[in-house]
Symmetry: C2
Subunit: 234 residues, 2 copies
């Protein structure tokens, strides 16, 4: 958790963001799953509110046509010069060799729970423009957007995506033959939500912890750095 950085923008007088919890356990297809809507300060669309990053996944495969729609959503993300500087390496669990290879690039903390997700993937960014090999300073940014749109489609279909920075990009390069000029940026666990009680205790605690974010006044500014935008303080 990043915590508040009161000296960055809002100062000591910014209103505190109290951790509120709106976690709800509900039964779906005979198992307990958790809903963890964002305790937002302003109204947001339910697809945004309902997205979160669980570690408990149901033992239920993701159908090929659903996977296709997830990546189709990523496909239509916007990008600088329509470069589409993203690629995904994907391992559904029934492709055992590939799935094991994917697990092997994760740090141990992540492979411990991600092994129960039905699909693992890596998001890879092309750092140079294909047409002239000059640096594309938006490559990672645009790749992050592509995965976000994928997550929107996932949420709309009752799936969740838990992204991980905790993996070894060089192991990924070797394991999958990622060429020079492309960098693996994030690993993804994708699947249907599972019972939090299926997790070891310390992960259950994290699963149930309230969701927290910096207040808008810390990062939405107008006119000059550090000056909260008038519309966020109204």
């Amino acid at each position: 958790m990043s915590g508040r950085r009161g000296d960055a923008v809002g100062g000591a007088h910014a209103p505190p963001t109290l951790p509120r919890s709106s976690n709800t356990i509900m039964q779906t297809e005979g198992i307990d799953i958790m809903q963890k809507p964002a305790p937002s300060d302003s109204p947001i669309h339910e697809l945004i509110r309902n997205r979160w990053s669980p570690r408990a996944f149901a033992n239920k495969p993701v159908a090929p046509d659903v996977l296709r729609s997830l990546f189709e959503a990523a496909r239509w993300a916007p990008s600088s010069n329509n470069e589409q500087p993203w690629a995904f390496l994907v391992a559904p669990k029934d492709d055992k060799e590939n799935f094991e290879k994917m697990l092997g690039i994760l740090v141990e903390f992540n492979s411990g729970w991600a092994k129960n997700a039905p699909v693992l993937a890596i998001a890879v960014a092309e750092l140079l423009f294909a047409k002239n090999n000059t640096p594309n300073r938006n490559a990672q940014y645009d790749t992050g957007a592509a995965t976000a749109w994928l997550s929107v489609e996932a949420t709309a279909r009752g799936l969740f995506v838990h992204q991980m920075a905790g993996f070894d990009p060089e192991k990924a390069r070797q394991a999958f033959g990622i060429p020079a000029g492309w960098d693996a940026i994030a690993a993804l666990a994708i699947g249907y939500p599972g019972d939090p009680a299926s997790l070891p205790q310390r992960l259950q605690d994290r699963e149930l912890a309230p969701r927290t974010r910096k207040p808008l006044s810390e990062f939405v500014m107008s006119g000059h750095w550090g000056q909260p935008a008038p519309f966020v303080s109204n």
Copy 2:
């Protein structure tokens, strides 16, 4: 337009993505606006399908509570270590001085049309972890996600976001006092859609052009780089 790169993944035998156009002109509040849904190959949620990056904006301000919800959506994006390494500088048009400053950092091609958007903004990424100043290799990726979630909320409210790489990051740093360790990554024009006929001819042509993307088989792989995932070729 990036065009296809047949040698990258799909090879010469990948099915071509034919530019199809599903542009529709419709009247809203007395003006013609264009809908430009993605000609997707697989079903995607309407918020994903309907998002696009127009250059024609209506002369209609964005209310403060709507702006608040857009940035609230960005706030709840996921990030590595919940670092939330993003900030936004925002200039609604009625803040003339700030809006002019924002226009001044855009390349001329962009300021020519973006001056008609009711809100301009810059997305800024913090490149080092706040807690220990070590590089955050997910900073730009996570910032791209935050803007994507903002765009979801915008689309849900009938607004559009057109992002631009065409601006001067160093001018932005000087104009707004962006500190070392933070980099401006993308500029954003935000507003309600306008009449394409309000644009100069060469921009009208772009506004009406079909939307194109690489086929999934070029960027969704399994097992090894360059090997299309089985579920995309089914």
